[in-house]
């Protein structure tokens, strides 16, 4: 019999330190698969900032440079401008990209920096223990929104990707999820497409991925995947938000 599914080559053999059912693990694999399939292992550079995935360089067998919390887009800008023929991507949590890194992200997109961003939206600050994220939805219980997020007290969640789609320098923005096999495959296609956009030099590309954090959501992984479908996507609808590559909007 033929092996039809196995660990991608651009991942090291180290087991993940993430919690059971964590979306980061899934995304690492997906990105690894895309790197393999597109043959990018020798020309791609990843930029993981602080967040649960801060140790991503333990897993990816590619060049990686760690960023300070929130500043991945700026760091990647410096890298990519210095090495315009390499592929540069950031891998950022929602706290990282949509709170402290808001300005860096929006301006990288506005400038049209030719980089790719994987935006892992799990609606909480995973690494620091489950505080409210800018993307925590109304009513969501976190360690800093006691009784559930309330708009008057805690403010509304932020739709960063929708804002980034407005930026003139962004070429491709899509929101996907990793909560089911079909969504996982769509995510993979979206990431491949984002890298393609970068290879073409078309500008800023971003894939926002709704990603389970069973630990801080206090759900089982299976419940967490369901919650994404039933609750989270109401605030963060899946789909292509911007596509300037000329491809049809409904790529899948």
């Amino acid at each position: 019999m033929k092996k039809v599914f196995t660990r991608p080559k651009s991942l090291k053999s180290a087991p993940f330190h993430y919690c059971p059912g964590c979306g980061h693990s899934l995304l690492h694999r997906i990105i690894g698969e895309v790197i393999d399939e597109m043959g990018l292992q020798e020309r791609i550079i990843g930029v993981p900032p602080a967040g649960c995935a801060v140790l991503a360089y333990n897993y990816f067998d590619i060049d990686m440079g760690e960023a300070s919390h929130g500043r991945a887009a700026a760091l990647a800008t410096g890298l990519k401008r210095a090495l315009p023929d390499r592929i540069v991507f950031t891998y950022q949590g929602d706290g990282d990209i949509a709170a402290i890194g808001t300005a860096e992200t929006i301006h990288a997109a506005a400038r049209g920096e030719n980089i790719t961003t994987i935006f892992v939206n799990n609606g909480v600050y995973g690494m620091t223990g489950g505080q409210m994220a800018p993307t925590s939805i109304l009513g969501q219980n976190t360690t800093t929104s006691p009784g559930g997020r309330k708009e008057k007290r805690d403010g509304f969640p932020i739709n960063l990707s929708e804002m980034l789609a407005i930026a003139k320098g962004s070429a491709y923005v899509e929101r996907t999820a990793v909560n089911s096999p079909s969504n996982i495959l769509k995510t993979k296609r979206a990431i491949a497409k984002a890298f393609q956009v970068q290879i073409k030099g078309a500008g800023f590309s971003l894939v926002e991925v709704l990603s389970p954090c069973p630990t801080n959501w206090k759900m089982s992984p299976v419940e967490a995947c369901k919650w994404i479908d039933e609750v989270m996507t109401a605030s963060f609808p899946l789909g292509v938000l911007k596509d300037f590559t000329g491809d049809k909007k409904d790529v899948h």
Binding site: V4, L11, S180, C225
Partner: protein, 76 residues
């Protein structure tokens, strides 16, 4: 339907049960032995069946869903 087969690396498994939730034929269960990390790992129920007896199609949905890359899939 081509016959399929999966191998689960019990030491990588963290008992998230996602593979179980997606297998169209419910072919994955939970082992009753703790692994080194302290989890009861997933268990391929057709592991010891003959090829002909297996219902596993090798569709790979379990592997696609596995965060730990603990599953390898084989197909004829």
């Amino acid at each position: 339907m081509p016959a399929g087969y999966i191998e689960i690396d019990v030491e990588l498994c963290k008992d998230c049960k996602l593979c179980m939730s997606v297998c169209p034929h419910q072919l994955i269960g939970t082992s009753d032995r703790l692994n080194q990390k302290g989890y009861y790992p997933a268990h391929f129920t057709e592991k010891n069946l003959k090829k002909e007896e297996r219902r596993c199609t090798g569709c790979g949905l379990c592997a696609i869903s596995c965060p730990e890359i603990a599953i390898e899939v084989y197909r004829a």
